[in-house]
């Protein structure tokens, strides 16, 4: 049966996006409403699991868009600034802890997730699809209905903005 066979994997996906069990359940319900509506249109061009995966991803994104209330940051202010000659305006501090050390720290992962959630929607969604859900550029472009070039540009800006948001926590002398 579709729900029992594919449901667990779909729920795992919804959990990654929603980070709250009740909201993940809601997203999964939305996904199955969509499945019921569109199952007759499924032509088998892709594997059933792939099709269901894209449906639960879309349902999770729609839920996130609907529940969004937290104030987001402006992306332009978080991008590196340059002088007229192309050189940096500011000194870039060194991050004292290694990537592996930081990634292994649960508190840091929460901090990173909060920073991602503060990004503008179009940049946050690309990060969620490419980095959290590990989709390819092509897959993310299909879900978001934009070109691959747009996905690449948004991802690049999102990562730069995330770096700026995390910089005060990880640069030399910071406590975290």
């Amino acid at each position: 049966m579709l729900v029992r066979e594919h449901g667990p994997r779909m729920l795992s996906v919804a959990r990654k996006f929603m980070r709250n069990e009740a909201e993940a359940h809601d997203a999964l319900q939305d996904a199955f409403v969509s499945v019921v509506k569109h199952l007759k249109d499924f032509q088998g061009q892709s594997a059933l699991g792939t099709w269901l995966h894209s449906i639960v991803v879309r349902a999770s994104l729609m839920r996130l868009r609907a529940k969004r209330s937290r104030k987001t940051v402006e992306i332009d202010g978080l991008l590196p600034q340059f002088q007229w000659d192309g050189h940096r305006k500011d000194v870039t501090p060194h991050w004292s802890r290694s990537a592996e050390e930081l990634a292994g720290d649960a508190e840091v992962r929460v901090l990173v997730r909060e920073a991602i959630e503060s990004l503008p929607e179009i940049h946050r969604e690309v990060l969620l699809l490419r980095d959290i859900e590990e989709m390819s550029t092509q897959e993310a472009a299909a879900v978001l209905e934009v070109t691959e070039a747009v996905v690449k540009t948004r991802l690049h800006r999102a990562r730069q903005a995330l770096r700026t948001l995390l910089d005060p926590h990880f640069s030399r002398g910071a406590l975290t």
Binding site: R4, V33, D131
Partner: protein
Amino acid sequence: MMTCKHLIEFLDDYVDGRLPVIQRAAFETHLWLCRDCRHYLDSYKTVIKLSRASGKDEAPPVTAMPESLVKTILAIRKQHHD
């Protein structure tokens, strides 16, 4: 001569190993000369790892659907067919 601003534009291609050899040489020459860009590149790579790691969290993989959720979904399907 590559500037800090140019380097930022090529960052993802460099990190992904997709930068053509001539541009890569210019990129690495700039890195060699510019401590700020070296720091920026290191922290940018860290951000990519952290962003990916933030999705791999505590919840164990779902092996079975919660029964209450299955019932709700089946009810939705029935409602749709009726």
